[in-house]
Symmetry: C2
Subunit: 319 residues, 2 copies
């Protein structure tokens, strides 16, 4: 093993921090380190937490860290979002919330801010999870914001995916349907002291039951739980539900080992191949000047973009 | 021209509807039609409307359609989102909102629901905009939900991008920073009768002024406007701001013609090439069985996914 990989496995904070930053920056060198770390992965339990802005994900994650630490578990947190309180981009200052864990060597918190990279957030997140896993964290919490495809892809890397909503936003429930419903293993109504919490529970239950056929075949039926993260209410029950989901997963194909589950591996490899293909091929088209020539032809109205695209791609892919 | 392209240019509703569905379904045949339609594009004014779930985008779009129709303009609406009231997936029934325009031949409304396709929403949306443009719509309104990278990419196709927020969601403003702030040409505070509207205006102003250097160099300074879409308040002022932005754009490189603007063309072509590369290359790796063999090797722990990815990609890209 290289000294970098060795230091990661030994839990060296500075090496891990730097490696994750390099992953976030899309440095190609990290690939060799990730290969070396691979045999040391597969031990962490990964929990994805997603939901719209303002539902209180950071507070929830903060409480989860506290409760997991009480159980003597080590925890890594990845805040996958440039707007996160943990990222440099935060302007509203609730970064302080997590500060109570900042001196605890059992907790490691990092944000991933990359956007627009080839492979993007999904790829960076998977790699960063591998690093926290290899460094020996018992749990890795991945916090993502929003309801976009990026977020759906990101949470697919988790063992348990938690969807957080708040009461009284009918449209929010509707938004959950956008690919998120299918990936939700646990639904949390946060700020459940607010008006409309029961309505939100019943709306969610209705939507989940529309998928009932899946559950009748012995699948996991996502529980809907009420919490008040800011008052530390309901967190234990929530973590119990995570345990139950873990127990359920342990009985499925590949168990808790993602890389033993053919479907998960297929998904992951497809993402990686996509990212890598784009990087290599676009790099080549750009360096050769072909890409810029095509741009000029379109601007000069000598060709339409659909044909220009074909002219660029077909020579590559027809070989 | 093929009869399909001819019918689109003639404004045949059924042909357009079918073509957009084929685009949404990722049918390769549509490419030839899009090439034929290309010389007929470049005339529509494209407005992107984005914001988190629950901010009232659908109501706003509905009012915009009404006002544009009063000006005798024809309007195409693309609701880019499986959760949209216009899409088949809608369950909360506010699809009815737009029904007042459903009998108006000057209005054409379609949703795009594609997710997970190669190239995804961005590519489908650009193609669908081209179709509505070629069919002769004066305005194309593109409604997208959320704050993910997908949505940012989608709104880049618009002449004017409108970011909709509601008062009192501090975190929402924060979320806007995630790549959306830079693409916003107009900010709308909807439901501005609610408490906190002025605070939201000043928060936004602060964030926009952080980018001030750009505006000092003669760039467009995004106005922040208050509206109450449900009461039809402020829509005229909003559409005037759109007109002003259009006048500003007309003086920039390429003017209102995206395909005359080198940067826009570069962006679009990059997206198209990416989508096409993935389609061709992944298709080949799948058909040859190489992809499935790599999956098996990973599941059997004979190889790590990072190495497997390299083995798949390098032979393709090194040629």
């Amino acid at each position: 093993m290289s000294s970098i990989a060795e230091k990661v496995v030994a839990g060296d904070i500075r090496t891990v921090a730097r490696l994750i930053r390099d992953i976030d920056d899309g440095m190609p060198e990290v690939r060799e380190v990730l290969k070396e770390l691979y045999p040391h992965t597969g031990n962490a339990y990964i929990i994805g937490i997603t939901g719209s802005p303002g539902v209180g994900k950071s507070t929830l994650v903060d409480q989860m860290v506290g409760h997991l630490r009480q159980r003597d578990k080590t925890v890594g947190v990845l805040a996958v979002d440039p707007t996160s309180p943990f990222s440099g981009g935060a302007i509203l200052g609730d970064r302080v919330r997590m500060q109570r864990h900042s001196m605890d060597p059992g907790v490691f918190i990092r944000s991933l801010a990359t956007r627009g990279h080839f492979g993007g957030l999904t790829q960076s997140t998977r790699s960063a999870i591998d690093v926290l896993d290899a460094m020996g964290k018992d749990y890795v919490l991945v916090e993502t914001v929003g309801v976009g495809q990026d977020e759906v892809d990101v949470v697919r890397s988790a063992h348990t995916t938690v969807i957080v909503v708040i009461p009284g936003m009918g449209d929010d429930i509707q938004a959950i349907k956008a690919g998120i419903l299918e990936v939700g293993d646990i639904f949390l109504i946060n700020k459940s002291d607010r008006e409309g919490a029961d309505k939100t529970v019943s709306d969610l239950r209705l939507m989940i039951e529309m998928d009932q056929k899946k559950y009748e075949e012995g699948g996991w039926k996502p529980p809907i739980l009420k919490v008040e993260a800011v008052f530390d209410k309901g967190i234990d029950e929530f973590l119990e539900a995570v345990d139950q989901h873990a127990a359920y997963l342990a009985k499925t194909e590949g168990g808790l080992d993602f890389r033993g589950n053919r479907n998960k591996v297929r998904e992951e490899l497809r993402e990686m191949v996509k990212a890598r293909l784009l990087e290599e091929a676009l790099d080549r088209l750009t360096k050769s000047g072909e890409f810029d020539r095509a741009v000029e032809l379109i601007v000069e109205k000598k060709i339409d973009p659909y044909t220009a695209c074909e002219d660029l791609v077909l020579p590559v892919s027809k070989q």
